[in-house]
């Protein structure tokens, strides 16, 4: 039978699951993972590694270019740019991680509940998601800032609300597809509880998708948080933060010192690229496993 032929062909082409994780990432994936590890380590070890106190102004170093003492020069207040870049990943990365953790947890719970319960519960959740979708993500964050005042908590709250419907929509449609499969019906007929089926069958089968989804959302969250900080509404000065440094660096650049803006911009781009590559690889594996 040709239909089963095709099914079988698709299944035999799968990658062996036992292949080592690194090899499955591919060379580019390994580079991306290494870059993220290096950034994380650097920022954790910044108190030891950074040559200067990131917050100490030095008028002699203000808007200075690169020099042996200050490899990337100084910012408008004369603070060492390299030291500030080393510290700067903390807020740039921890905020998005929190946003993704929260939105993935809330979104997945909502999605699986809606997909399993179906009927009215699903209709209510879907309408709610539709309404949330009618507002561009960054607007949520800005409104939250308008209410709570500039700062990280408002942005995290706003972006969590903004990201949750994306997670929920993707997971819900995958969960709806998955729950149509006969193995779920078989578990139900066997007398398994709804919670048991969701936790033991549905969730593990959706896990690769959820991971791929949250990794690629992480890239967007880094960009969004940095953009809001750039606008002056997120992380507040004098904290060393990449988004903020692009902002102050733009000012310095018009006055002849582009290294602060370039360095911070480049680092954000590299981190996001690395996260995207990882998300892409994980997503591709998920596709092959289907």
């Amino acid at each position: 039978m040709t239909a089963t032929d095709a099914l079988k062909a698709r299944r035999t082409l799968r990658l062996p699951r036992t292949a080592p994780a690194l090899r499955r990432l591919g060379p580019l994936g390994v580079v991306a993972a290494a870059l993220l590890a290096a950034v994380t380590l650097t920022t954790l070890l910044a108190p030891v590694l950074a040559p200067y106190d990131p917050d100490r102004p030095d008028l002699f170093n203000a808007l200075a270019g690169a020099s042996p003492e200050h490899l990337l020069g100084g910012d408008a207040l004369g603070r060492d740019v390299l030291s500030r870049l080393m510290w700067g990943a903390r807020t740039t990365l921890s905020g998005p991680l929190l946003i993704i953790f929260l939105s993935t947890t809330i979104g997945t719970t909502l999605a699986i509940t809606a997909a399993w319960a179906g009927g009215k519960v699903d209709a209510v959740v879907s309408r709610l998601l539709d309404v949330l979708f009618a507002v561009p993500g960054i607007v949520f964050a800005l409104v939250a800032v308008a209410v709570l005042g500039p700062g990280v908590p408002g942005v995290v709250l706003g972006l969590t609300i903004a990201y949750t419907p994306y997670v929920a929509r993707v997971v819900r449609s995958a969960a709806l597809r998955e729950r149509q499969l006969p193995y779920i019906a078989a578990a139900w007929v066997q007398g398994r509880s709804a919670v048991g089926i969701c936790v033991r069958h549905l969730l593990p089968n959706l896990r690769p998708l959820i991971i791929a989804q949250s990794v690629s959302a992480l890239g967007f969250a880094v960009i969004d948080l940095a953009a809001i900080s750039f606008l002056g509404l997120g992380v507040q000065p004098p904290t060393a933060d990449w988004g903020l440094m692009v902002k102050s660096g733009l000012d310095s650049a018009t006055r002849g010192q582009p290294l602060e803006a370039l360095g911070a911009g480049l680092l954000i781009a590299l981190v996001v690229a690395a996260v995207n590559v990882l998300g892409d690889r994980i997503g591709r594996q998920e596709g092959e496993l289907r």
């Binding site: 309404v131 009618a134 561009p136 993500g137 960054i138 018009t254 582009p258 781009a269 996001v272």
Partner: protein, 309 residues
């Protein structure tokens, strides 16, 4: 027709809910609306009375909301506490700048994204590799970083473009908007290129394309009438979503290039706690966003006969 009516009704519901939330937010602020409206300003009793009057703080919540909504429907969003000007007047001129910026960026996105994506989809190998790599790079760089880089290189370094400001006359404005529009469009164009490539690839592998080939139709004919035609459906959907998200992206870009549009007004209003302006801008953005989505749905329905039942 019933489809359109249903969609319009849904749209109205979304707008009512959004407006309710936007209005209600004022009351979620710690300390209540009064503390919020006064913000860091210290109010004299007269000012406080004036604010109470303007925001009808003595009426019940629903009455106030309905009154505000009624006014908003007539284009009256109240008076800005900072500018001491009608909010609608503040919005008017700035909307044009933002609309022009978004339109400019849309043209760039569709032209570059669809062309590059189609090319990459149809030509596996070098063209595909180059385009995919460029798209990945462009996707990783945040809008504001692109903007800052363009300012540093093209405007400050090479002096090809004006750095800041809106410009005079239509051509002048376009010239001034070129860097902002490129900034705004780069990431989205890359995203659209990816989607286009993926959907062209997917269609190329479809069974009905095999049928067309098995009938001896010329490859050009197969590509045009079957592959591209079918691939256009997801591309249109994503284009719409992208354009809608440009409305939000313009907030950032206007700030980089110091353009006086809705976005920069929005950010200033937030910083200065000018709530009448915040409410109005959010409503305008949501309305535009929802309208763009409606247009996309209509396009998809026209393109895909399976959707019209």
């Amino acid at each position: 027709m019933t489809f359109l009516l249903r969609r319009l009704a849904g749209l109205a519901v979304v707008l009512v809910v959004a407006s309710f939330l936007v209005y209600g937010l004022l009351y979620l602020v710690p300390g209540g609306p009064m503390a919020f409206l006064l913000g860091n300003r210290s109010g004299t009793p007269e000012q406080i009375a004036a604010i109470r009057e303007q925001y009808r703080l003595d009426d019940p919540f629903l009455v106030r909301y309905l009154a505000w909504l009624g006014d908003a429907l007539q284009g009256d969003f109240g008076t800005s506490l900072v500018y001491r000007q009608d909010v609608s007047a503040l919005l008017g001129a700035r909307s044009t700048t933002t609309a022009l910026l978004v339109a400019y960026a849309t043209v760039v996105i569709v032209a570059v994204g669809v062309a590059a994506g189609t090319l990459a989809g149809l030509r596996p190998g070098r063209a595909d590799a180059v385009i995919s790599a460029l798209a990945s790079a462009a996707l990783a760089v945040p809008t504001f970083v692109i903007g800052v880089l363009l300012v540093i290189v093209l405007a400050l370094g090479l002096g090809w473009f004006p750095v800041f400001g809106p410009g005079e006359g239509f051509l002048g404005r376009l010239h001034h908007l070129t860097l902002p529009a490129i900034t705004l469009s780069l990431g989205s164009a890359a995203f659209l290129a990816r989607i286009t490539r993926a959907s062209v690839r997917e269609e190329l592998g479809r069974e009905h394309v095999e049928t067309a080939r098995s009938r001896g139709l010329a490859e050009r004919h197969v590509v045009r009438r079957h592959v591209l035609r079918n691939a256009s459906i997801p591309v249109v959907t994503v284009t719409g979503l992208t354009v809608a998200s440009l409305l939000a992206g313009s907030v950032v870009v206007e700030n980089v290039f110091a353009l006086d549009g809705l976005g920069s007004l929005f950010v200033r209003a937030i910083l200065q706690r000018d709530f009448a302006v915040v409410q109005a801008v959010v409503l305008v953005l949501v309305t535009a966003f929802v309208l763009v989505n409606l247009v996309v749905d209509l396009c998809c329905k026209a393109l895909d006969p399976r959707l019209s039942r």
